[in-house]
Amino acid sequence: MSKQIRQLDRVVIRFAGDSGDGMQLTGDRFTSETAQLGNDISTLPNFPAEIRAPAGTLPGVSSFQVHFADYDILTPGDAPNVLVAMNPAALKANLADLPRGADIIVNTDEFTKRNLSKVGYQVNPLDDDTLAGYAVHPVALTSMTIGALADQDVSKKDAERAKNMFALGLLSWMYSRPYESTLRFLERKFARRPELVAANVAAFRAGWNFGETTEDFAVRYEVKPAKMPPGTYRNITGNAALSLGLVAAGVRSGLPVFLGAYPITPASDILHELSKHKKFGVLTMQAEDEIAAVGAALGASYGGALGITTTSGPGVALKSETISLAVALELPLLIVDVQRAGPSTGMPTKTEQADLNLALNGRHGEAPVAVIAPKSPADCFYAALEAARIALTYRTPVILLSDNYVANGSEPWLLPDVNSLPDLRVEFATAPNGEDGSTFLPYLRDPETLARPWAIPGTPGLEHRIGGLEKADKTGDISYDPANHDFMVRTRAARIETIPVPDVEVEDPDGDARVLVLGWGSTYGPIGAACRGLRQRGLSVAQAHLRHLAPMPANLGTVLRSYDRVVIPEMNLGQLAHVIRAKYLVDAIGYNQVRGLPFTAAELETMLEEVLKNV
């Protein structure tokens, strides 16, 4: 039977099922196949904090959304064109996000009376008009998978578990995806159990063949490769890119990397990833608590390593006192905060940008640090290198503010030439720096960077003591002198304020925009997509995005003042907007939501259109 093939420029698919159904893996595989084909991609996993919430319930639903296109895209997509619902809970939890006309593929085997009642469906939604207006494809996914594996040497349970591969096979057929990488993946994943390789491959092929033969799917789709700059790509999540950036910082600085970390969602993956890279000399320590994690990192920095700690908001709060010590000691220290919805445990698997105040100000005393934020998953690699550069060059703690959205989302990454990455080599102090030629002054600063010498233990002749007590300028001796304290406080502030950071760039292709949208961190994608939408409709809007939050770019004030209106969308209640208003006396408008999800491009576009009307 020959099928009609239709060309699309973009598609958003959401795979949804029970936390145990393997939806994250299914989404990952589909993404990888799509990357191989050369589409641009953006993904958004969404899962509960519970490892296995009760089966078939709404809290147990896990989903993975992938957006792919034949042009460059910025977000995982506002609304899915296709929903794969592995059970009634997955249908119910996601239906509200679907526009009318969307395709819904449901696993009818799971639509039993018991499963329906678990989520409050009195009547089977496949039988009434709940799904009117959608293109529903009922597929007996579980039973067909079990049927397809009848000849395989696997238990019924293992056969049933392969149903996600059936779904993947069907979707791969539907969107004409190359599947060789999935077959290779299955061989790797189940290397020790060949019978499971065979079963999962058979399930995948059964799904593919089902699409080919069933009359329910009359159309097959193609999305052509996107025009992307030449080079080698891989698909990467923010946490993975950040980890690789830290390894790269070790290579480019020539310093051993030490990570002290305590497990916390959504930062733990960085600990997992770095623990695999011992051959780079990366030493990871799972500490007894968040305080020990940062303490050990600071101890490692004191000894001449690149000391790093990774955590999320509650962990940063615990580390606060040690970060202040690092400010006083003027040693390099990298603190990665993968933000999640707070306060307290909040919604640990959901995203938010509400730790900006904490990063900028959350310490006792006057304790300024540098703060930077990546704007996308792949950008986490470069943000990590930049954070390391600042920490090492200026001998200061640096807070890197990632968030759950960029950490777990993914996009294609054009692999850099390793030799083009910044040179992060440092010079340790090796000789006395006093005028008499024999005295060592641990707080005598480099006039350009205001950094003090990094004199690591083991260096003969430079034995000295440092500590949390206020130090006299130059000598580092304990000092209670009022004028000295005033001088040291101001110097520590100036040290951060004068770090040269690149100017903020403004994207205003029409050149006549009167409204500037200013963002930071992970909102880059949705803001950019909203601006494109407006421009395609003939409206002018300018976009600027902050990577450096402390210190801020030198040209920021000028940029802000050259627009009639400045709008700041944030996934918090206006933390950057407060800073901008206080620092630049600009009457910025905040647009804020804290739903644990990224902005949709559509909501930002609607909001900005209103602003444009009123300037």
Binding site: A35, Y233, R234, G295, L325, G467
Partner: protein, 344 residues
């Protein structure tokens, strides 16, 4: 192997140029002098020695040592020292702490450093009081202690620091006294020779807020009847005339003090610091009464277990042994691992 060259250092080499600012008469002076006097014995260049402290009177210690040093934050010295020691196994890292610093605010870091067996020499100056905050009771103060914060007596039971350390899987546990320089230095010597965490409790007099806390262990004529001087391989007897001894009564769980005259010699416990089962050292740690009678000093326990840094270094070395590429080549390989695709 040839004998290492003597560095010919003296106590004076370990004195920093900073003015010592403890209260006159503080036990810390004696400890500082004993440590400075002992350091040359290590025959380690000063630049490879690091003292890390937390907060409190004792934690000012690093400022007075002409080595590398860090006066850090309250309770966190073991954690900071762990990061240093793990990345710099070439250094000799010493932690100086107090009863409040190590057992109250920093209790978690202390027990985890001990269980990991990080190569740290931890000196806990125990004066059973908060000195720097001017006289509140500490986690080693006796029940009912009347202090500024407990005007009708403290309600909480104290820690026994050695029992705690043993419970935390410490491989080396010892106790000594500020005023007994010779004994203090002998314990430091044993601690320095130990691979892994060495936990040393030093009874230290705070003459301002808890004066005389350990007097029975110091006064001539009395102390010999109070102190049990542990000597590896020797039967445990004590008292002015050796009139007391330690036995392990059949059927009992712990150790007891008896009169030597009424005890058969073979019943007297012979001290063995190398006993693997921590129950023995724990039983020793439980001997002292509230009046300080039967207080053992010396090395309670010294057993072999690979240090944390040796284990993690071995993992790193094993991983790096296979590497033939330059770091840049390795990195390029890592970045392009997994599923990649090329656009021409």
């Amino acid at each position: 192997m040839s004998e290492p060259i003597s560095l010919k250092l003296t106590a004076k080499d370990f004195k920093s140029d900073q003015e010592v600012r403890w209260c006159p008469g503080c036990g810390d002076y004696a400890i500082l002098a004993a440590v400075q006097g002992f350091m040359p014995e290590l025959n380690i260049p000063r630049e490879r020695i690091v003292f890390i402290s937390g907060i409190g009177c004792s934690s000012r210690f690093p400022y007075y040592m002409n080595t590398y040093g860090m006066h850090s934050i309250h309770g966190r010295a073991p954690a900071i020292a762990t990061g240093l020691s793990a990345t710099r196994p070439d250094l000799s890292v010493w932690v100086v702490t107090g009863d409040g610093d190590a057992l109250s605010i920093g209790g978690n870091h202390l027990i985890h450093a001990l269980r990991r067996n990080v190569n740290l020499k931890i000196l806990l100056f125990n004066n059973r009081i908060y000195g720097l905050t001017k006289g509140q009771y500490s986690p080693t103060s006796e029940v009912g202690k009347i202090t500024k914060s407990t005007p009708v007596g403290s309600a909480d039971a104290p820690f026994n620091p050695l029992s705690l350390a043993l419970g935390a899987e410490a491989t080396f546990v010892a106790r000594t006294i500020d005023s007994d320089r010779k004994h203090l230095q002998s314990v430091l010597r044993a601690a320095a020779e130990h691979e892994g965490s060495a936990f040393v409790e030093i009874y230290q007099n705070c003459n301002i807020f808890n004066d005389g806390a350990f007097d029975p262990l110091k006064e001539h004529g009395i102390r010999d009847d109070y102190l049990i001087r542990l000597e590896h391989g020797q039967p445990i007897t004590f008292g002015k005339d050796g009139q007391f001894c330690v036995v392990h009564p059949p059927g009992g769980f712990g150790l007891e003090v008896r009169e030597t005259a009424a005890t058969r010699p073979e019943e007297i416990v012979v001290h063995d610091a190398n006993v693997t089962d921590p129950a023995y050292a724990f039983a020793l740690s439980r001997l002292p009464g509230l009046d300080l009678r039967n207080t053992p000093i010396g090395v309670f326990r010294a057993v072999e277990r690979p240090s944390y840094e040796n284990v993690v270094r071995a993992q790193l070395d094993a991983a790096r042994a296979e590497v033939t590429e330059t770091p840049e080549q390795q990195l390029a390989g890592l970045l392009s691992s997994g599923d990649t695709w090329t656009i021409l």
